[in-house]
């Protein structure tokens, strides 16, 4: 009312196309502000990502290097027989190796004083590798053979610069300050070297006193075997369930109930699936403990809801006109689904599956209960044993290493994270490639 009476007396404000009025300017400012918020959010995310990656890389990259002792060593037939006749054979082999090293060092005229004890403190656990080599290659007995064996974890850390020598005294059981001077001499003489640690990628877990030889290889295989089980079981089951629910099932209370349950299952904490797996697969069905097969079955249960939900979403996204056209020219419902709808939904299904698999790959909690988190130090001997024999998984191995007292294991845990990320990255790349190949536009 006031506007009506006053409005007539005052001249109407002029607007111009070139100068924005106050309200437009405010709206423009709000839009600009919102854009800045968005950019700030992206920058914050980027900073966190950079921090995370820097932490992982700076801590993890040293794990790919290790200090090794390189010498030529000859084992005689008598020594071999003597060692094989004892109970703790690896210790006898270590003794032979140390004797040989001492002889070589005395000859080469190293100035720093040393004795067998000092060499023992510099060496990692070498007996197992030496015994395994001669058992597999008996023709090498009596021949000079070049060995590259791990140095002790203290020396390894000293060379990497992560070991503080001021904290140790002469009474230390593991390393003394004089040992490190000696290690410097050996390094100058080319006997102690630092090299790329292939064993970290291909090896198996080791005891807590043998950090130099621990590798993540076996658990990568364990994770891979589990992923095969998950893929082979959850993809067909998940896709079949979603096709039925989406295309064939009548819409009634019962299917609604199933739908609600599937959504709920996707949100159930993974440890619950572990308890279920222990009770059903191990205690009731009698499958073996610590087996990737059981791990795979448990993770399948965990992944199914994710796959079903994403498959249904991508089936829904296929335009109804395609179904109707197929039905219209006389295709049966099944033909319409399998020949026309499913191929179009394939990219979405694959993406969902790979996301589900990636989630399963990083899962540790359910594995805890079925015995896959622990010390498992062997490769399966046959393909079938890869499923049913004991093995660990990458996240379990990382968790395991992170809790060990030797700092070299902590470093290996970070290195393991890098390998896990590479595994995940290659799975995601595969997903993108597959999606590109199947993608069709309409």
């Amino acid at each position: 009312m006031t506007d009506a009476t006053h409005g007539m007396s005052e001249p109407r404000q002029k607007t111009s196309l070139t100068a924005a009025d106050a309200r437009t300017a405010a709206r423009n400012r709000a839009e600009k502000r919102f854009q800045y918020y968005g950019i700030a959010a992206i920058i914050a995310g980027g900073v966190f990502l950079v921090l995370l990656l820097t932490a992982i890389l700076s801590n993890g990259i040293p794990a790919f290097q290790r200090a090794t002792v390189n010498i030529e060593f000859t084992l005689t037939q008598e020594q071999f027989d003597e060692a094989e006749g004892t109970m703790l054979k690896t210790k006898v082999y270590t003794g032979f190796f140390i004797d040989a090293l001492t002889a070589q060092l005395t000859e080469s005229g190293i100035e720093t004083e040393f004795d067998n004890k000092r060499i023992e403190r510099l060496l990692g656990k070498v007996g197992g590798t030496i015994r395994a080599h001669y058992r597999e290659n008996p023709q090498d007995i009596g021949q000079p053979t070049r060995f590259e064996l791990p140095a002790s974890s203290r020396v390894d850390r000293y060379f990497k610069g992560t070991f503080d020598r001021s904290g140790i005294g002469d009474g230390n059981r593991f390393i003394m300050p004089g040992d490190l001077d000696f290690a410097d001499d050996l390094r100058a003489a080319g006997i102690l070297t630092q090299s790329f640690d292939w064993n970290f990628i291909t090896g198996v877990d080791t005891g807590v006193d043998n950090a130099g030889q621990a590798g993540i290889g076996a658990s990568v295989l364990g994770s891979f075997m589990m992923m095969i089980v998950v893929l082979v079981l959850s993809l067909p089951i998940g896709v079949a369930a979603s096709i039925y629910l989406e295309e064939f099932a009548p819409k009634n209370r019962f299917t609604d109930l199933i739908e609600v349950n599937i959504s709920n299952l996707a949100a159930v904490p993974s440890i619950v699936f572990g308890i279920l797996g222990l009770a059903v697969f191990i205690q009731f069905m009698g499958l073996s403990q610590s087996a990737p097969l059981v791990g795979g079955l448990v993770l399948t249960l965990m992944t199914l809801p994710t796959i079903i939900i994403s498959t249904r979403a991508s089936l829904k996204a296929v335009p109804p006109s395609i179904r109707e056209a197929a039905l219209g020219i006389g295709a049966s419902k099944m033909q319409a689904v399998f020949h026309h709808v499913l191929p179009l939904a394939m990219p979405g299904i694959l993406t969902g599956t790979i996301i589900g698999l990636a989630q399963a790959l990083g899962e540790t909690a359910p594995l805890l209960l079925i015995g896959m988190v622990g010390f498992v130090a062997r490769y399966p001997e046959t393909f079938l044993q890869g499923f049913e024999g004991p093995n660990s998984a990458m996240p379990a191995q990382i968790y395991n290493w992170a809790s060990r007292s030797d700092a070299v294991f902590t470093e290996k845990a970070w290195g393991g994270i890098i390998i896990l990320l590479i595994f995940l990255l290659s799975m995601n790349i595969l997903a993108i490639i597959l999606r590109r190949r199947f993608e069709r536009r309409w």
């Binding site: 109970m87 015994r131 082979v232 403990q289 622990g374 010390f375 004991p390």
Partner: protein, 346 residues
């Protein structure tokens, strides 16, 4: 596409049924996280020196391990349970109810518990149980009165300790270490300060007084650590004034980061623990399922190997890592050799 899927599903079903028939060829161990490092050393050496496959060792805690041990007899149950305490009556009964009767108890040695702080931090080098009690207990004795713990600095009750804020990281209640810590340090300190006597004089029964002694303060100066020692180490790293509680082996492996305190004037070492001078230590055990000997290949060989002089003796790799060798190891070796089960004499 459909055919490929059918084949894949069929393969999976075959794999499942094949597994159920396959026999287990490796020894399966679970239990205490304190024993785990030692067990993993022995398992690796066992795999390297024998033609049996390397045993699988899981952790999870003494109680969890014994619970799984007592689930029954058969290939899908574990063969050996590691424990950082002796098996309880209740657990033996649970075992018997599930048909696990022939249990062989094996004591592998001792583990010491040490108090350590950051190497660059203030000098916590001499503790008495009374100091720890005064620092961490909920209620302490001041001028003859039981009061809520008023102390904020170590120097408040012992002028020899540094004048810094009290902050300590004892192991959480799910750890076997906690039990030893309570019994040998907190209770001893409670008695030494006279707080226990004052509580009993105040009308408490002895059991109630003990329980009251073991209540730790909840004002943030005592922080229970439920994770591993690595978590305690991380807390100490971040907190120069913090005092942490570690196993001897863990401390010895991290001597470049930690400084240890003496207890009642004795420095912890394998020698002082073996002689019993250092007061805070406990025996470590594993339990073998007698019914699995002869069924699971390598089980008895593994147990004998574990307690052999070359392994668990004073010069073996376990002692090298930080286990305190049992002076009566010979007796243990005989018990394993003769498969002496619990309650069958000796």
């Amino acid at each position: 596409m459909l055919n490929a899927k059918l084949t894949a599903s069929a393969l999976a079903i075959i794999a499942v049924s094949a597994t159920a028939a396959a026999a287990r060829d490796q020894v399966q161990v679970a239990g205490s996280s304190t024993v785990l490092p030692y067990a993993s050393i022995v398992a690796e050496l066992f795999g390297e020196n024998f033609d049996f496959p390397t045993p699988v060792v899981e952790s999870g805690g003494s109680s969890a391990g014994l619970k799984r041990f007592c689930e029954g007899v058969g290939e899908n149950t574990i063969d050996i349970a590691n424990a950082s305490r002796a098996i309880r009556e209740k657990e033996i009964k649970a075992c018997a109810d599930a048909g696990v009767t022939d249990i062989i108890e094996v004591q592998i040695g001792y583990d010491g518990i040490v108090f350590a702080s950051q190497i660059d931090g203030p000098a916590f080098t001499a503790f008495e149980p009374a100091d720890i009690f005064n620092a961490l207990s909920d209620q302490v004795l001041v001028d003859g009165q039981i009061v809520d713990n008023p102390y904020t600095q170590w120097a408040d009750f012992n002028a020899d300790l540094p004048a810094v804020d009290i902050i300590a990281f004892p192991p959480g209640t799910k750890h076997g270490t906690r039990e030893v810590f309570e019994e040998k340090v907190i209770l001893a300190g409670c008695e030494a300060t006279g707080a226990m006597q004052a509580m009993i004089d105040g009308g408490m029964s002895e059991d109630d007084a003990e329980d009251a002694c073991m209540n730790l303060r909840a004002d943030g100066r005592s922080v229970d650590i439920d994770g591993d020692y690595t978590e305690t180490l991380a807390r100490i790293d971040a907190n120069p004034d913090g005092v942490g509680i570690f196993g001897l082996a863990f401390y010895e492996n991290n001597q470049d980061k930690l400084k240890v305190g003496t207890m009642s004037g004795i420095a912890p070492s394998t020698a002082t623990i073996a002689s019993g001078e250092y007061p805070v230590s406990r025996p470590l055990f594993f339990y073998i399922k007698g019914a699995h000997i002869g069924v699971i290949p390598g089980l008895k060989e593994f147990a004998s190997f574990f307690v052999a002089d070359e392994i668990a003796g004073p010069d073996g790799p376990l002692a090298q890592y930080g286990l305190v060798a049992d002076p009566e190891l010979v007796k243990t070796q005989m018990a394993v050799e003769n498969e002496e089960t619990m309650g069958s004499g000796s």
